[in-house]
């Protein structure tokens, strides 16, 4: 029975090929654009997620408070309020996986005849762990290098390219503030952060070395920044509260006195970026859905024409014993076939379009099984929904009226 009806639907579709093709085109464009837009939207979300995870996940940045001298306020990080011991104390807290003290600033780097200005980061090995940063070549320095203030450096890809060009930097010496540093490793590429700043334009040296040889500080042991990584996103609120309480206690701040440090949460910036792209992809999907809807209405339109055109045929079928549900099923099946066929073609074109976009623009594209499945289910749903009204109209025809129809 079903096979016979499928055959009939196929017949009916073949009877007016151009019209069937045009009806299908509505679905093709609808489904195709939904798939393409979802691929682009999810690609954007993926790209943002990548950027966020490249900055390190679940991170807090503690910045020492500003100082003022002679009415001139220094801005965050200028004061000596945070120190390495604070970091060690924070590392003992529950839910904290890594704490890295950071002292950073821009410096001119020199290697042979090349020179390049880059961000020099003085820190401990925990910094690399917190930011999930791996080495492309060579090896990272250890805690012993920090203790004995050795002059070793890890350089980012951009720095390496600018100072060394094609040369292998590992084992070479660079000069920072006249001090020679041995390059022991090159960091893996990370790309831009959310601000668009190049994270690979950097040099990482032991904190102690940076403070003594590069920046010089009147308060050895104090740091501008502490990077704190929580073990999970869920642990972050508790870690933040504990951290603040601990620091207030350590800094002997009384009730009502302001913190002498700032707490920044990278998650907030990350959430904003993720939310923006999510809204954008929902918007894209919504716009594409409108064209899917229009495609569905196209199907209804054609099915209504088809019912009117074939009224006499419906009458004949009823006269030889077709039940209302047979007629209903016939037209519903036809609508469903058109939409499913249109959906398959649309799916193929949408995916091809997404791949093409990726090839031409280098935009990140994510085609998920879920989005394909959703597009398919929606198309089938539209076929049934918009096919139902014309089909019911056909089924409700009075046999004798239908037979008299010319």
């Amino acid at each position: 029975m079903l096979k016979a009806m499928l055959g009939e639907a196929w017949y009916a579709m073949g009877a007016n090929r151009l019209r069937t093709a045009l009806t299908m085109l509505g679905m093709v464009i609808g489904v195709g654009s939904v798939v393409l837009m979802m691929a682009i939207g999810q690609g954007a979300q993926y790209a943002v997620a990548q950027t966020i995870s490249s900055m390190g996940s679940n991170l807090y940045i503690l910045i020492s408070g500003s100082t003022s001298s002679g009415g001139l306020r220094s801005g965050g990080g200028g004061g000596p309020s945070l120190n390495v011991a604070d970091g060690e104390a924070i590392a003992e807290l529950d839910g904290v996986s890594h704490v890295a003290p950071v002292h950073q600033g821009r410096q001119q780097l020199v290697h042979g005849a090349n020179n390049w200005s880059s961000t020099v980061v003085g820190t401990t090995p925990a910094y690399l762990d917190a930011r999930a940063w791996t080495m492309a070549s060579g090896y990272a320095f250890g805690d012993s290098d920090v203790r004995s203030a050795t002059r070793v450096a890890l350089i980012g890809q951009t720095t390496a390219d600018n100072l060394f060009a094609a040369e292998d930097p590992v084992g070479k010496t660079i000069r920072i503030q006249q001090s020679p540093f041995l390059v022991i490793g090159v960091l893996a590429k990370k790309g831009q952060n959310l601000d668009g700043r190049d994270q690979d334009d950097t040099v990482i040296v032991p904190l102690s070395t940076a403070q003594r040889k590069v920046f010089g500080t009147p308060f050895p042991g104090s740091v501008r920044l502490l990077m704190v990584q929580a073990s999970s996103a869920e642990a972050m609120p508790a870690v933040e509260a504990d951290m603040i309480a601990l620091l207030r206690q350590r800094h002997r701040l009384r009730e009502g006195q302001d913190n002498d440090f700032y707490v920044r949460n990278l998650a907030a910036a990350a959430d904003t970026a993720a939310e923006t792209t999510r809204v954008m992809s929902v918007l894209l999907g919504a716009i594409a859905s409108v064209s899917l809807l229009v495609g569905g209405i196209g199907i209804m339109n054609i099915m209504l024409v088809s019912v009117t055109e074939r009224t006499r045929e419906i009458g004949i079928r009823m006269a030889i014993g077709a039940r209302q549900k047979d007629i209903l099923a016939q037209f519903l099946l036809e609508a469903l076939m058109i939409s499913v066929a249109g959906c398959l073609i649309g799916l193929a074109l949408g995916i091809a379009g997404a791949l093409l976009t990726n090839a031409i623009t280098d935009m990140a594209i994510v085609i998920s099984g879920a989005s394909v499945l959703v597009a398919f289910a929606v198309a089938a749903g539209i076929g049934i929904f918009f096919g139902f009204y014309p089909a019911r109209r056909a089924a409700a025809l009075d046999p004798i009226e239908a037979l008299r129809h010319q």
Partner: protein
């Protein structure tokens, strides 16, 4: 036979028109036994086609009762009516009413699709070819309706009406679109089928067509004005 195959009592049908309801049938009483061959005659507008459509369960009466094989048709729902049209009645139209885009065997097999017996496509075509052979068109099974003559199309329509082995064959002006020679062939076929035990009721306004039947019922202005038996006609 204890009860007639068809029994109508005070059957009335009026059509709604702009001015006033137009009564096409004004209380018809008639019984037809199984195995009869009845010609319904009358001028156009006499109500004979309306009557036929009511007999074929294609239309519903405005008043009166219609019993088909002992069942009161007015009490049946859409599904049961469809089953009657499918199983009990075979309907032949003046305009043949074949589906043009289907082969002849598929046209004939169509009632089997709706019979819901779960026959496979090949079994249905097999039965269709048997019916086509019965009306002498076995060799055209896979042709399209547009390829054959009107007389042949009407034979196919008859084959389609017979494929579910109905008790009753209704024919509304079956020869109206055919020349006299082909008409005669169709009528020979009807006589032959009647001889095999199928009850036939046909509508015509031509006396020489009606002469093939064994009973002639004449309609005028929605009423039966005469109902006479006619002598059997020798098959030439």
């Amino acid at each position: 036979m204890s009860q007639p195959l068809i029994r109508v009592a005070a059957l009335g049908k009026s059509y709604r028109t702009a001015a006033a309801p137009f009564p096409a049938l004004r209380g018809v009483d008639l019984s037809i036994d199984a195995g009869e061959f009845v010609a319904i005659m009358g001028h156009s507008g006499s109500g004979k086609s309306t009557f036929m459509n009511l007999l074929g369960c294609l239309d519903t009466a405005s008043s009166g009762d219609y019993f088909l094989a002992g069942r009161k048709v007015a009490d049946l729902d859409q599904e049961q009516l469809a089953a009657l049209r499918n199983q009990t009645i075979g309907f032949v139209f003046q305009g043949f009413n074949l589906l043009q885009r289907m082969s002849l065997e598929d046209n004939v097999a169509l009632p089997l699709v709706y019979a819901g017996r779960g026959l496979a496509r090949e079994q249905r075509r097999q039965s269709a070819r048997q019916e086509l052979a019965r009306v002498g068109l076995a060799s055209y099974a896979s042709s399209l309706p547009s390829r054959i003559s009107g007389g042949q199309q009407q034979r196919v329509a008859i084959a389609r009406a017979l494929v579910n082995s109905p008790q009753l064959l209704l024919a509304d002006e079956p020869t109206g679109n055919l020349d006299s020679h082909t008409s005669e062939e169709i009528m020979k076929l009807f006589s032959q089928l009647n001889g095999e035990g199928i009850t036939i009721v046909l509508v015509t306004h031509e006396p020489d067509i009606a002469a093939w039947a064994r009973r002639q019922v004449c309609f005028l202005d929605g009423l039966i004005v005469s109902d006479v038996a006619t002598p059997p006609r020798a098959l030439a």
